[in-house]
Protein backbone atom coordinates (compact mmCIF):
# COMPACT_ATOMS: atom_id res chain seq x y z
CA UNK A 1 0.00 0.00 0.00
CA UNK A 2 1.12 3.49 -0.77
CA UNK A 3 -0.05 7.01 -0.03
CA UNK A 4 0.86 9.97 -2.24
CA UNK A 5 1.67 13.51 -1.13
CA UNK A 6 -1.42 14.62 -3.10
CA UNK A 7 -3.61 12.22 -1.10
CA UNK A 8 -2.09 13.50 2.14
CA UNK A 9 -2.70 17.12 1.11
CA UNK A 10 -6.30 16.24 0.26
CA UNK A 11 -6.69 14.90 3.79
CA UNK A 12 -5.21 18.13 5.20
CA UNK A 13 -7.71 20.11 3.10
CA UNK A 14 -10.58 18.07 4.49
CA UNK A 15 -9.24 18.35 8.03
CA UNK A 16 -8.79 14.59 8.17
CA UNK A 17 -5.01 14.24 8.17
CA UNK A 18 -3.59 12.45 11.20
CA UNK A 19 -0.45 14.26 12.33
CA UNK A 20 1.84 13.16 15.15
CA UNK A 21 5.08 14.58 16.51
CA UNK A 22 8.11 12.33 16.15
CA UNK A 23 8.25 11.68 19.90
CA UNK A 24 4.55 10.77 19.84
CA UNK A 25 4.97 8.21 17.07
CA UNK A 26 7.90 6.68 18.97
CA UNK A 27 5.51 6.18 21.91
CA UNK A 28 2.91 4.67 19.54
CA UNK A 29 5.50 2.23 18.20
CA UNK A 30 5.88 0.75 21.71
CA UNK A 31 2.31 -0.57 21.44
CA UNK A 32 1.63 -0.89 17.73
CA UNK A 33 3.22 -2.46 14.70
CA UNK A 34 4.63 -0.44 11.81
CA UNK A 35 1.80 -1.70 9.58
CA UNK A 36 -0.83 -0.32 11.96
CA UNK A 37 1.04 2.96 12.35
CA UNK A 38 1.11 3.42 8.58
CA UNK A 39 -2.64 2.81 8.37
CA UNK A 40 -3.44 5.32 11.12
CA UNK A 41 -0.90 8.12 10.66
CA UNK A 42 -0.34 10.38 7.63
CA UNK A 43 2.37 12.80 8.73
CA UNK A 44 5.07 12.92 11.39
CA UNK A 45 6.51 16.29 12.36
CA UNK A 46 10.14 16.63 13.44
CA UNK A 47 12.04 19.45 15.09
CA UNK A 48 15.50 20.52 16.11
CA UNK A 49 16.97 23.58 17.80
CA UNK A 50 20.73 23.24 17.64
CA UNK A 51 23.79 25.27 16.87
CA UNK A 52 24.28 25.51 13.14
CA UNK A 53 27.54 27.29 12.38
CA UNK A 54 27.14 27.03 8.64
CA UNK A 55 24.45 29.68 8.45
CA UNK A 56 24.23 33.21 7.16
CA UNK A 57 22.04 35.76 5.46
CA UNK A 58 21.99 37.47 2.10
CA UNK A 59 20.92 41.07 2.32
CA UNK A 60 20.12 43.57 -0.38
CA UNK A 61 20.07 47.02 1.17
CA UNK A 62 18.58 48.93 -1.76
CA UNK A 63 20.66 51.48 -3.67
CA UNK A 64 22.15 54.60 -2.11
CA UNK A 65 22.36 58.13 -3.42
CA UNK A 66 24.95 58.78 -4.75
CA UNK A 67 25.17 55.15 -5.96
CA UNK A 68 27.75 53.31 -3.85
CA UNK A 69 29.09 49.79 -4.10
CA UNK A 70 29.29 47.99 -0.75
CA UNK A 71 32.84 46.71 -1.09
CA UNK A 72 34.42 46.52 2.36
CA UNK A 73 31.39 46.34 4.57
CA UNK A 74 30.66 45.83 8.27
CA UNK A 75 27.38 45.40 10.14
CA UNK A 76 27.73 46.45 13.80
CA UNK A 77 31.48 46.07 13.25
CA UNK A 78 31.10 42.51 11.93
CA UNK A 79 32.61 41.98 8.50
CA UNK A 80 30.14 41.04 5.78
CA UNK A 81 31.00 39.82 2.29
CA UNK A 82 30.50 42.33 -0.48
CA UNK A 83 32.06 40.55 -3.41
CA UNK A 84 28.78 40.21 -5.25
CA UNK A 85 26.64 42.88 -6.94
CA UNK A 86 26.65 46.46 -5.67
CA UNK A 87 24.32 46.30 -2.68
CA UNK A 88 24.15 42.54 -2.15
CA UNK A 89 26.04 41.32 0.90
CA UNK A 90 26.34 38.09 2.87
CA UNK A 91 26.73 38.04 6.62
CA UNK A 92 28.04 34.73 7.99
CA UNK A 93 26.99 33.53 11.44
CA UNK A 94 30.49 32.78 12.76
CA UNK A 95 32.20 36.03 11.66
CA UNK A 96 33.53 37.86 14.73
CA UNK A 97 33.17 41.59 15.37
CA UNK A 98 36.37 43.63 15.20
CA UNK A 99 38.11 43.34 18.54
CA UNK A 100 35.35 41.38 20.21
CA UNK A 101 35.26 37.75 21.23
CA UNK A 102 31.62 37.37 22.12
CA UNK A 103 29.77 39.18 19.33
CA UNK A 104 29.49 38.24 15.70
CA UNK A 105 27.42 37.59 12.61
CA UNK A 106 24.86 35.49 14.44
CA UNK A 107 24.21 38.38 16.83
CA UNK A 108 23.68 40.74 13.90
CA UNK A 109 21.21 38.30 12.33
CA UNK A 110 19.38 37.88 15.65
CA UNK A 111 19.26 41.66 16.16
CA UNK A 112 17.75 42.11 12.68
CA UNK A 113 15.08 39.51 13.45
CA UNK A 114 14.29 41.34 16.71
CA UNK A 115 13.64 44.48 14.63
CA UNK A 116 16.74 46.31 15.83
CA UNK A 117 18.73 48.81 13.79
CA UNK A 118 22.16 47.76 12.61
CA UNK A 119 24.99 50.12 11.76
CA UNK A 120 26.26 49.52 8.23
CA UNK A 121 29.63 50.98 7.34
CA UNK A 122 31.17 50.50 3.93
CA UNK A 123 34.07 51.63 1.82
CA UNK A 124 33.91 51.47 -1.94
CA UNK A 125 36.07 52.01 -4.97
CA UNK A 126 34.39 54.77 -6.94
CA UNK A 127 33.46 54.10 -10.56
CA UNK A 128 31.53 56.06 -13.15
CA UNK A 129 28.36 54.21 -12.30
CA UNK A 130 29.00 53.90 -8.53
CA UNK A 131 30.73 57.17 -7.61
CA UNK A 132 30.23 56.88 -3.82
CA UNK A 133 33.39 56.26 -1.75
CA UNK A 134 31.97 55.42 1.62
CA UNK A 135 28.72 55.12 3.47
CA UNK A 136 27.41 54.89 7.01
CA UNK A 137 23.71 54.12 7.54
CA UNK A 138 21.42 52.23 9.84
CA UNK A 139 19.57 49.31 8.36
CA UNK A 140 16.71 47.25 9.73
CA UNK A 141 14.49 44.61 8.16
CA UNK A 142 12.01 47.40 7.34
CA UNK A 143 14.28 49.58 5.19
CA UNK A 144 16.05 46.93 3.11
CA UNK A 145 14.89 45.06 0.03
CA UNK A 146 15.58 41.43 0.87
CA UNK A 147 17.05 39.49 3.77
CA UNK A 148 17.04 35.73 3.64
CA UNK A 149 18.94 33.03 5.44
CA UNK A 150 20.87 30.87 3.05
CA UNK A 151 22.64 28.23 5.06
CA UNK A 152 25.12 25.92 3.32
CA UNK A 153 24.90 23.20 5.97
CA UNK A 154 22.17 22.63 8.53
CA UNK A 155 20.32 19.77 10.09
CA UNK A 156 23.08 17.17 10.32
CA UNK A 157 21.81 13.63 10.03
CA UNK A 158 23.44 12.46 13.24
CA UNK A 159 26.70 13.76 14.69
CA UNK A 160 29.47 12.43 16.89
CA UNK A 161 29.32 12.85 20.65
CA UNK A 162 32.40 14.30 22.34
CA UNK A 163 34.50 13.45 25.36
CA UNK A 164 38.00 14.35 26.52
CA UNK A 165 40.75 11.98 27.67
CA UNK A 166 43.33 14.72 28.20
CA UNK A 167 44.30 16.40 31.46
CA UNK A 168 43.09 19.82 30.33
CA UNK A 169 39.62 21.33 30.22
CA UNK A 170 38.79 21.75 26.51
CA UNK A 171 36.62 24.57 25.17
CA UNK A 172 35.18 23.18 21.93
CA UNK A 173 32.20 23.66 19.63
CA UNK A 174 30.83 20.59 21.42
CA UNK A 175 30.92 22.54 24.69
CA UNK A 176 33.18 22.51 27.71
CA UNK A 177 34.77 19.07 27.88
CA UNK A 178 36.01 18.18 31.34
CA UNK A 179 39.35 16.36 31.67
CA UNK A 180 39.84 12.62 32.20
CA UNK A 181 36.56 11.64 30.49
CA UNK A 182 34.75 14.06 32.81
CA UNK A 183 31.67 14.39 30.60
CA UNK A 184 30.12 13.62 27.22
CA UNK A 185 28.39 16.28 25.13
CA UNK A 186 26.25 15.58 22.08
CA UNK A 187 24.35 17.63 19.56
CA UNK A 188 21.09 16.37 18.10
CA UNK A 189 17.43 16.17 18.98
CA UNK A 190 17.72 12.39 18.44
CA UNK A 191 14.41 10.77 17.59
CA UNK A 192 12.94 14.24 16.93
CA UNK A 193 15.63 15.20 14.41
CA UNK A 194 14.42 15.51 10.78
CA UNK A 195 17.05 13.49 8.93
CA UNK A 196 16.95 10.61 11.41
CA UNK A 197 13.46 10.01 10.13
CA UNK A 198 14.28 9.76 6.45
CA UNK A 199 17.71 8.08 6.21
CA UNK A 200 17.67 7.68 2.42
CA UNK A 201 16.04 11.02 1.60
CA UNK A 202 12.96 9.36 0.16
CA UNK A 203 10.72 12.33 0.99
CA UNK A 204 13.12 15.19 1.73
CA UNK A 205 14.79 16.69 -1.34
CA UNK A 206 15.30 19.95 -3.19
CA UNK A 207 12.19 22.09 -2.88
CA UNK A 208 10.81 20.43 0.24
CA UNK A 209 8.91 22.96 2.32
CA UNK A 210 10.03 23.18 5.93
CA UNK A 211 9.82 25.15 9.19
CA UNK A 212 12.84 27.42 9.59
CA UNK A 213 13.32 30.06 12.27
CA UNK A 214 9.59 30.33 12.92
CA UNK A 215 8.49 30.64 9.32
CA UNK A 216 8.20 28.62 6.14
CA UNK A 217 11.36 27.87 4.19
CA UNK A 218 12.76 25.38 1.71
CA UNK A 219 15.47 22.83 1.14
CA UNK A 220 17.67 24.55 -1.45
CA UNK A 221 20.33 21.96 -2.16
CA UNK A 222 22.21 19.14 -0.54
CA UNK A 223 24.17 20.51 2.41
CA UNK A 224 27.94 20.86 2.27
CA UNK A 225 29.85 17.81 3.54
CA UNK A 226 26.84 15.65 2.68
CA UNK A 227 28.11 12.14 3.38
CA UNK A 228 26.04 9.51 1.62
CA UNK A 229 28.66 6.86 2.30
CA UNK A 230 28.69 7.15 6.09
CA UNK A 231 28.75 3.83 7.90
CA UNK A 232 25.13 2.79 8.46
CA UNK A 233 23.42 0.70 11.09
CA UNK A 234 22.28 -2.58 9.51
CA UNK A 235 18.81 -2.53 11.05
CA UNK A 236 17.79 1.15 10.88
CA UNK A 237 19.98 2.20 7.90
CA UNK A 238 20.84 5.34 9.87
CA UNK A 239 24.38 6.71 9.68
CA UNK A 240 26.46 6.09 12.81
CA UNK A 241 27.96 9.58 13.01
CA UNK A 242 27.70 12.47 10.52
CA UNK A 243 25.67 11.63 7.40
CA UNK A 244 23.50 13.80 5.17
CA UNK A 245 23.06 17.55 5.54
CA UNK A 246 20.80 20.21 4.02
CA UNK A 247 21.33 23.64 2.52
CA UNK A 248 18.31 25.66 3.62
CA UNK A 249 16.70 28.92 2.66
CA UNK A 250 14.09 31.08 4.37
CA UNK A 251 12.86 34.65 4.62
CA UNK A 252 14.60 36.42 7.52
CA UNK A 253 11.90 39.09 7.49
CA UNK A 254 9.34 36.52 8.65
CA UNK A 255 11.51 34.79 11.27
CA UNK A 256 11.04 35.01 15.03
CA UNK A 257 13.74 35.39 17.65
CA UNK A 258 12.29 32.50 19.68
CA UNK A 259 13.61 30.22 16.95
CA UNK A 260 16.83 31.98 16.03
CA UNK A 261 19.37 32.84 18.68
CA UNK A 262 23.04 33.79 18.58
CA UNK A 263 25.49 31.65 20.51
CA UNK A 264 28.90 32.47 21.92
CA UNK A 265 30.97 29.42 22.66
CA UNK A 266 33.89 30.24 24.93
CA UNK A 267 37.19 29.27 23.32
CA UNK A 268 35.57 28.58 19.95
CA UNK A 269 33.60 31.55 18.77
CA UNK A 270 30.19 32.41 17.43
CA UNK A 271 27.41 30.18 16.19
CA UNK A 272 23.69 30.34 15.58
CA UNK A 273 20.92 28.36 17.26
CA UNK A 274 18.30 27.76 14.63
CA UNK A 275 14.95 26.03 14.82
CA UNK A 276 14.14 23.67 11.97
CA UNK A 277 11.24 21.32 11.50
CA UNK A 278 10.47 19.04 8.57
CA UNK A 279 7.27 17.09 7.99
CA UNK A 280 7.75 13.42 7.15
CA UNK A 281 4.91 12.11 4.97
CA UNK A 282 4.20 8.45 5.62
CA UNK A 283 4.02 7.47 1.97
CA UNK A 284 4.47 3.77 2.74
CA UNK A 285 5.28 1.33 5.54
CA UNK A 286 8.99 1.90 5.10
CA UNK A 287 8.57 5.58 6.01
CA UNK A 288 6.39 4.58 8.98
CA UNK A 289 9.28 2.37 10.12
CA UNK A 290 11.84 5.16 9.83
CA UNK A 291 9.60 7.85 11.32
CA UNK A 292 9.00 5.76 14.44
CA UNK A 293 12.66 4.95 15.14
CA UNK A 294 13.44 5.65 18.80
CA UNK A 295 16.48 7.12 20.56
CA UNK A 296 17.48 3.62 21.58
CA UNK A 297 17.78 2.60 17.92
CA UNK A 298 19.86 5.60 16.85
CA UNK A 299 23.56 5.02 17.37
CA UNK A 300 26.50 7.38 17.41
CA UNK A 301 30.21 7.38 18.16
CA UNK A 302 31.71 9.10 21.18
CA UNK A 303 34.95 10.66 19.96
CA UNK A 304 37.93 11.72 22.02
CA UNK A 305 38.45 15.46 21.45
CA UNK A 306 41.52 15.19 23.71
CA UNK A 307 43.34 13.89 20.64
CA UNK A 308 43.83 16.90 18.40
CA UNK A 309 43.67 15.29 14.97
CA UNK A 310 41.00 15.10 12.28
CA UNK A 311 40.54 11.36 12.88
CA UNK A 312 39.75 11.36 16.55
CA UNK A 313 39.72 7.98 18.26
CA UNK A 314 36.34 6.35 18.87
CA UNK A 315 35.88 5.85 22.60
CA UNK A 316 32.57 4.06 22.37
CA UNK A 317 29.58 3.47 20.14
CA UNK A 318 26.42 4.29 22.05
CA UNK A 319 22.78 5.18 21.39
CA UNK A 320 20.74 8.26 22.21
CA UNK A 321 18.73 6.54 24.90
CA UNK A 322 21.92 6.19 26.91
CA UNK A 323 23.09 9.72 26.02
CA UNK A 324 19.74 11.30 26.96
CA UNK A 325 19.65 9.35 30.25
CA UNK A 326 22.29 11.77 31.55
CA UNK A 327 24.90 9.10 32.14
CA UNK A 328 27.14 7.10 29.84
CA UNK A 329 29.44 4.32 30.86
CA UNK A 330 33.02 4.77 29.64
CA UNK A 331 35.70 2.26 30.67
CA UNK A 332 33.56 1.16 33.61
CA UNK A 333 33.05 4.72 34.83
CA UNK A 334 29.71 6.56 34.98
CA UNK A 335 30.18 9.74 32.97
CA UNK A 336 27.73 12.65 32.88
CA UNK A 337 26.20 13.32 29.46
CA UNK A 338 24.17 16.28 28.21
CA UNK A 339 22.78 17.59 24.92
CA UNK A 340 23.83 20.81 23.18
CA UNK A 341 20.55 20.88 21.28
CA UNK A 342 17.45 22.12 23.08
CA UNK A 343 15.00 19.23 23.16
CA UNK A 344 12.42 21.47 24.83
CA UNK A 345 12.50 23.78 21.80
CA UNK A 346 12.70 20.87 19.36
CA UNK A 347 9.41 19.49 20.69
CA UNK A 348 7.89 22.98 20.53
CA UNK A 349 8.88 23.25 16.85
CA UNK A 350 7.45 19.82 15.98
CA UNK A 351 4.24 20.84 17.77
CA UNK A 352 3.97 24.14 15.88
CA UNK A 353 4.49 22.41 12.56
CA UNK A 354 1.83 19.91 13.55
CA UNK A 355 -0.62 22.70 14.35
CA UNK A 356 0.15 24.50 11.06
CA UNK A 357 -0.72 21.33 9.16
CA UNK A 358 -3.84 20.66 11.21
CA UNK A 359 -4.98 24.25 10.70
CA UNK A 360 -4.41 23.97 6.92
CA UNK A 361 -1.66 26.60 6.97
CA UNK A 362 0.98 24.20 5.75
CA UNK A 363 0.68 21.68 2.93
CA UNK A 364 3.29 19.07 2.03
CA UNK A 365 5.47 19.18 -1.07
CA UNK A 366 6.94 16.64 -3.43
CA UNK A 367 10.62 17.30 -3.86
CA UNK A 368 11.78 18.71 -7.19
CA UNK A 369 15.03 16.76 -7.30
CA UNK A 370 16.29 13.88 -5.21
CA UNK A 371 19.32 14.14 -2.90
CA UNK A 372 22.23 13.60 -2.88
CA UNK A 373 23.58 15.41 -5.89
CA UNK A 374 27.26 14.65 -5.35
CA UNK A 375 27.37 12.33 -2.35
CA UNK A 376 31.13 12.40 -1.85
CA UNK A 377 32.99 13.25 1.31
CA UNK A 378 36.61 14.21 0.90
CA UNK A 379 39.22 14.52 3.61
CA UNK A 380 42.72 15.97 3.49
CA UNK A 381 45.73 13.97 4.54
CA UNK A 382 47.81 15.41 7.36
CA UNK A 383 50.00 18.27 6.13
Amino acid sequence: MKRSIEEINEKIRKGKAVVLRADEIVEMRKKEKVKEIFKKVDIVTTGTFGMMCSSGAFINTGHFNPPTKLQEVTLNDVKAYGGVAAVDIYIGATEKANGREDYGGAHVIEALVKGEKIKLKAKAYPTDCYPGKEIEVYISLKNINQAFLFNPRNCYQNYNAATNSSKEVLYTYMGVLLPNFGNVMFSTSGELSPLHKDPFFRTIGIGTKIFIGGTEGYVAWEGTQFNWYAERDKFTNLPIGPGGTLALIGNLKEMKSEFLKAAYIKGYGISLFLGIGIPIPLIDEEMAFYASISNEMIKTKILDYGVKRLDRPVVKITNYKELFSGWVEINGKKVKSAPRTSIYKSIEIAEILKSWIKNKKFYLTNYVKKLPIEGGFKKWEEI
Binding site: L178, P179, N180, M185, A263, A338, R340, S342, I343, I347
Partner: protein
Protein backbone atom coordinates in the same frame (compact mmCIF):
# COMPACT_ATOMS: atom_id res chain seq x y z
CA UNK B 1 57.89 38.76 53.71
CA UNK B 2 54.38 39.50 52.48
CA UNK B 3 51.15 39.12 54.40
CA UNK B 4 49.12 35.94 54.28
CA UNK B 5 46.26 35.91 51.78
CA UNK B 6 43.37 33.50 51.40
CA UNK B 7 41.91 32.18 48.14
CA UNK B 8 38.86 29.99 47.69
CA UNK B 9 39.10 27.56 44.79
CA UNK B 10 37.26 24.61 43.30
CA UNK B 11 39.50 21.63 42.59
CA UNK B 12 38.60 18.90 40.16
CA UNK B 13 40.50 15.67 40.81
CA UNK B 14 41.07 12.97 38.24
CA UNK B 15 40.62 9.39 39.40
CA UNK B 16 44.38 8.78 39.43
CA UNK B 17 45.10 11.54 41.91
CA UNK B 18 42.34 10.67 44.36
CA UNK B 19 44.50 8.09 46.12
CA UNK B 20 47.39 10.52 46.49
CA UNK B 21 47.68 12.60 49.73
CA UNK B 22 47.55 15.91 47.92
CA UNK B 23 46.28 18.08 50.78
CA UNK B 24 49.01 16.82 53.10
CA UNK B 25 51.64 17.48 50.43
CA UNK B 26 50.37 21.03 49.95
CA UNK B 27 50.58 21.81 53.66
CA UNK B 28 53.93 20.11 54.21
CA UNK B 29 55.83 21.05 51.10
CA UNK B 30 54.21 24.20 49.80
CA UNK B 31 53.84 25.85 53.16
CA UNK B 32 50.15 26.79 52.84
CA UNK B 33 47.12 26.15 55.06
CA UNK B 34 44.35 24.20 53.41
CA UNK B 35 40.85 24.36 54.82
CA UNK B 36 38.47 21.89 53.17
CA UNK B 37 34.96 23.34 52.94
CA UNK B 38 33.37 20.63 50.87
CA UNK B 39 34.67 17.48 49.27
CA UNK B 40 33.39 14.51 47.38
CA UNK B 41 36.14 12.03 46.87
CA UNK B 42 35.73 8.29 46.48
CA UNK B 43 38.38 5.69 45.66
CA UNK B 44 38.75 5.16 41.91
CA UNK B 45 36.35 7.92 40.92
CA UNK B 46 36.87 11.52 39.86
CA UNK B 47 36.35 13.85 42.78
CA UNK B 48 36.09 17.50 43.67
CA UNK B 49 36.92 19.75 46.61
CA UNK B 50 36.24 23.31 47.61
CA UNK B 51 39.10 24.65 49.69
CA UNK B 52 40.45 27.84 51.17
CA UNK B 53 44.17 28.04 50.55
CA UNK B 54 45.91 30.44 52.91
CA UNK B 55 49.52 31.54 52.81
CA UNK B 56 51.94 33.91 51.12
CA UNK B 57 50.98 34.86 47.59
CA UNK B 58 54.13 33.21 46.20
CA UNK B 59 53.41 29.99 48.10
CA UNK B 60 49.81 29.93 46.89
CA UNK B 61 51.01 30.28 43.31
CA UNK B 62 53.49 27.44 43.91
CA UNK B 63 50.71 25.33 45.41
CA UNK B 64 48.50 25.90 42.36
CA UNK B 65 51.38 25.01 40.06
CA UNK B 66 51.90 21.81 42.02
CA UNK B 67 48.20 20.93 41.77
CA UNK B 68 48.19 21.51 38.01
CA UNK B 69 51.25 19.29 37.61
CA UNK B 70 49.39 16.54 39.42
CA UNK B 71 46.52 16.84 36.95
CA UNK B 72 44.12 18.75 39.20
CA UNK B 73 42.02 21.43 37.44
CA UNK B 74 41.52 24.66 39.38
CA UNK B 75 38.57 27.02 39.06
CA UNK B 76 37.90 30.25 40.95
CA UNK B 77 34.86 30.33 43.18
CA UNK B 78 32.04 32.81 42.90
CA UNK B 79 29.32 33.87 45.31
CA UNK B 80 26.01 33.20 43.62
CA UNK B 81 24.69 32.18 40.24
CA UNK B 82 21.51 33.41 38.60
CA UNK B 83 19.83 31.88 35.57
CA UNK B 84 17.97 34.23 33.29
CA UNK B 85 14.87 32.31 32.17
CA UNK B 86 14.22 34.73 29.31
CA UNK B 87 17.58 34.02 27.70
CA UNK B 88 17.86 30.31 28.58
CA UNK B 89 16.92 28.01 25.71
CA UNK B 90 17.08 24.78 27.78
CA UNK B 91 19.86 23.25 25.71
CA UNK B 92 21.83 21.38 28.35
CA UNK B 93 25.30 22.82 27.74
CA UNK B 94 25.55 23.80 31.42
CA UNK B 95 24.17 20.47 32.63
CA UNK B 96 27.15 18.64 31.17
CA UNK B 97 29.66 20.58 33.28
CA UNK B 98 27.67 20.74 36.52
CA UNK B 99 29.52 18.18 38.59
CA UNK B 100 27.27 18.19 41.67
CA UNK B 101 24.13 18.01 39.51
CA UNK B 102 22.61 21.31 40.65
CA UNK B 103 21.64 21.98 37.04
CA UNK B 104 19.64 19.30 35.28
CA UNK B 105 17.00 18.79 32.61
CA UNK B 106 13.65 17.60 33.92
CA UNK B 107 11.32 15.15 32.18
CA UNK B 108 10.03 17.92 29.93
CA UNK B 109 13.66 18.76 29.01
CA UNK B 110 13.42 22.10 30.81
CA UNK B 111 16.41 23.30 32.79
CA UNK B 112 16.08 23.20 36.56
CA UNK B 113 18.43 24.56 39.17
CA UNK B 114 18.79 23.38 42.76
CA UNK B 115 20.80 26.11 44.50
CA UNK B 116 21.39 23.94 47.58
CA UNK B 117 23.46 21.56 45.46
CA UNK B 118 25.46 24.32 43.73
CA UNK B 119 29.12 24.49 44.72
CA UNK B 120 29.69 27.82 42.93
CA UNK B 121 32.40 26.52 40.63
CA UNK B 122 31.08 28.86 37.87
CA UNK B 123 31.78 26.39 35.08
CA UNK B 124 28.17 26.69 33.92
CA UNK B 125 28.76 30.32 33.00
CA UNK B 126 31.61 29.34 30.69
CA UNK B 127 29.51 26.59 29.17
CA UNK B 128 26.35 28.62 28.50
CA UNK B 129 26.26 29.61 24.80
CA UNK B 130 23.57 32.27 25.18
CA UNK B 131 24.86 34.20 28.19
CA UNK B 132 21.91 33.20 30.37
CA UNK B 133 23.99 32.55 33.50
CA UNK B 134 25.12 35.43 35.64
CA UNK B 135 27.68 35.18 38.40
CA UNK B 136 27.58 37.52 41.34
CA UNK B 137 30.64 37.98 43.50
Amino acid sequence: MGRNIKERVFLLFPKKVVNYPITAMLIKEKNVFVNILKAEIMPNEDGYMIVDIEGKEKDIEEAKKFLKEKGVSIFPISQKIIINDKECINCGSCVGVCIPGALFLNKMFKLEFKPEKCILCSMCKDACPVGAIEIIG
